[in-house]
Symmetry: C2
């Protein structure tokens, strides 16, 4: 029971929550891998045990959402039912089974004077998250943060306020029953915009802040924050069909990348076809897309090669559709394809289809995106596919984390030196 620390201050500002989270982070940092796994299984059990309460709170959110006229897609992402609550609990158990990154010795050596120096992985401390309506993010991020030894402060979307309040309460009670300070999981939802502001300006209390959601949410967080932010950005994802691209690979990869799940950030949005392959590839690839209900927005050349193609404008090159739409353009050369990508890519994922090793390697080397592929679907940019288990998000920035973020990306390092009286000469 020594790992319980009882908060004695009255909590009435979001800053108080940050302070309590910081204190709790000292406790979570010292939990063993087994203690953290036990706590996560306790959370999973509690989510199942309180399923009715969670679903009832969610019904309030859904009713309010319907009154406010939010769209059917958003309502669906907001909805929790018995199978979805079971899926939440199962996700927590999967996170409990992931290897604990804390304590890993990243590198080390003995200094010439005999001091033993090692760089070890440690929790960040307090992880902040600002996100939108989906209540599963509340549970996912709390579980990932706890697995990696962090305390977490959550700021969810107001549309999911009732659901998140119950979810956070259930998780906190489960922690407390395990003898772990419940302040390791905090929400600042009750403070509205002030909660978000406190997170963004919580220097000294928030070690890293992860925004997840729309481009405008991310832009606001990046611009306003004075704490370190990991940007999880949009995906204006490109596939290049080289002169040497086999028709079957081209068709399968483009269709999979566009159609399998169009609403996610690793779905393809633009296909660039090298002129030497246009006659051979544009028609079969476009037909395969159209057969799956995809609307093609093409340049002049594409429109002369295929029926039923909408004319593409400058906007189409820059758009992350997230729908069954795709832009298609014929370019003169790989140089031109690379130039198009430099101009319009958001640095998430790009792929080339080619059997020419020179073009594959040039593409891999020169495209400046988090994930660069040759002859594989862009849909592979994903924590589970990469073997990370769960995923915090996909970073499109270059500092600290780039691409799918797993548990190690929720840690920092520190240097430890063990000597026997050494001084610097």
């Amino acid at each position: 029971m020594s790992i319980v620390e009882t908060a004695e201050v009255a909590v009435d500002t979001p800053q108080d929550r940050l302070r309590l989270a910081k204190d709790a982070a000292r406790v979570t940092a010292r939990l063993t891998s087994g203690e953290k796994a036990d706590a996560l299984h306790a959370i999973a059990d509690a989510l199942l045990a309180h399923g009715d309460e969670i679903i009832a709170a969610n019904a309030d959110d859904l009713a309010r959402g319907e009154r406010d006229g939010i769209g059917a897609g958003l309502l669906d992402r907001l909805r929790l039912d018995t199978p979805r609550v079971a899926a939440l609990a199962e996700a927590v158990r999967q996170i409990a089974a992931l290897p604990d990154p804390v304590g890993e010795i990243v590198r080390g050596h003995r200094m010439p004077n005999g001091v033993n120096l090692e760089q070890v992985r440690v929790p960040f401390g307090v992880v902040g998250a600002i996100y939108e309506a989906r209540p599963n993010v509340t549970v996912d991020i709390a579980a990932l943060a706890l697995r990696s030894g962090n305390a977490v402060v959550l700021r969810g979307g107001s549309a999911a306020l009732s659901s998140n309040t119950v979810l956070v309460g259930v998780m906190r009670d489960a922690l407390e029953a395990q003898g772990i300070v419940p302040d390791a999981i905090q929400s600042v939802d009750a403070f509205g915009r002030d909660g978000a502001k406190a997170l963004m300006h919580g220097r000294g209390f928030v070690d890293v802040l992860v925004p997840r959601g729309s481009a405008s949410l991310i832009e606001t967080v990046v611009t306003e924050s004075t704490v370190p932010v990991i940007e999880t950005g949009a995906g204006n994802v490109h596939i290049v069909l080289d002169d040497s691209a086999p028709e079957e690979w081209a068709r399968d990869i483009v269709v999979n990348a566009k159609v399998q799940r169009p609403s996610v950030c690793n779905a393809a949005e633009t296909v660039l076809v090298l002129r030497g392959a246009a006659e051979r590839l544009v028609a079969p690839v476009a037909s395969a897309l159209q057969a799956q209900g995809v609307t093609i927005h093409g340049d002049e050349t594409v429109r002369t090669l295929v029926e039923g193609v909408e004319p593409a404008t400058e906007d189409d090159w820059a758009t992350e559709y997230l729908t069954l739409d795709i832009a298609m353009r014929v370019v003169d050369s790989l140089d031109d394809a690379l130039e198009h990508i430099r101009r319009y890519s958001t640095g998430h994922t790009e792929s080339i289809v080619t059997t020419d090793v020179r073009n594959a390697e040039r593409f891999l080397a020169e495209v400046d995106s988090a994930v660069v592929l040759a002859n594989a679907s862009t849909r592979f940019t994903d924590g589970s596919e990469f073997g990370f288990g769960a995923e915090v998000g996909i970073s499109t920035q270059k500092l600290h984390a780039r691409g799918p973020m797993g548990l190690p990306e929720l840690t920092s390092t520190k240097w430890l030196g063990r000597g026997s009286g050494q001084v610097r000469v």
Copy 2:
């Protein structure tokens, strides 16, 4: 000669400079390790060849500094003479000899479907630096950035404007003579505060910004920037003397940590003595410090044990003296020492002197600083001592880099996947 790309736009805003740097970064990212080393040796040669010109420009800065009444210490750090120019060139040659971090495969595996996945180290792209008067930083950061394949945009202190202008010009000419686009080394000094503002708000152009200098400079950059920043912070550095601390280790480590170079961030600022060791250690440690001209600011207990100790106030615990002053406090327990450190440390470096492995390991585990030591001088927190060769700075934040930053800390990573037509199922 294919790596030369000539800029054709007229440069008249700091944003233009950022744009040219971004284009140049595409060139530097593709340079081989050998090409980068050759370019650095050419820069070193050019610095020596233009020594007179550099020293003449520096004389202008010194004359202006004297007129403006800047202190003797600052004037000394600003001064360049023949031996110092030779040292600048030598530092560049040492950086040329460091291993190139670019291209390192950090991790990787074959996915179950056969896609070969690897995470490789790549340059950030454009590194920005905002720093103060010392002209050697201009050359050091440019050389480190180039060695790691980055373009760099510099914003030096106005006190060193003439020196920096000549240094940047000499380095750019040397690059051009090597057939490398000179825009890989840029300065925005000519634009005054607008140059710094452009760097801090250069989203999409500046991949990482490193402030080096006073606490207020760093605070401004962290608060104002919308680009990712690596904070190189102040060092309010603590040494704890445990009950079991051997007198010789305690004395040698405290004296070395305070006296060897008091003006740097890894110098000790406060000594915390556990009550059980106070009678035995305070007097000999304090006397040894006083013998080296150190003024001790002590609590009541220290003042009863040693003559000539100034009374310590709350301010003393929070102060990074950077002078021959040190605070000394007797605490009841290791808990109290840890609590003091939590309250006053800036998270740079702390050390404990002890032979009790339980206390050593507890200190190493619980102190949340970039470098935590047992039985070694805090002066070891240094890129050269850690074996990194040169150093960009010492990060006191937790994102991306923590502690001394070497060349790998000036890189990002990207994921490369090589497949043969795989799609997601």
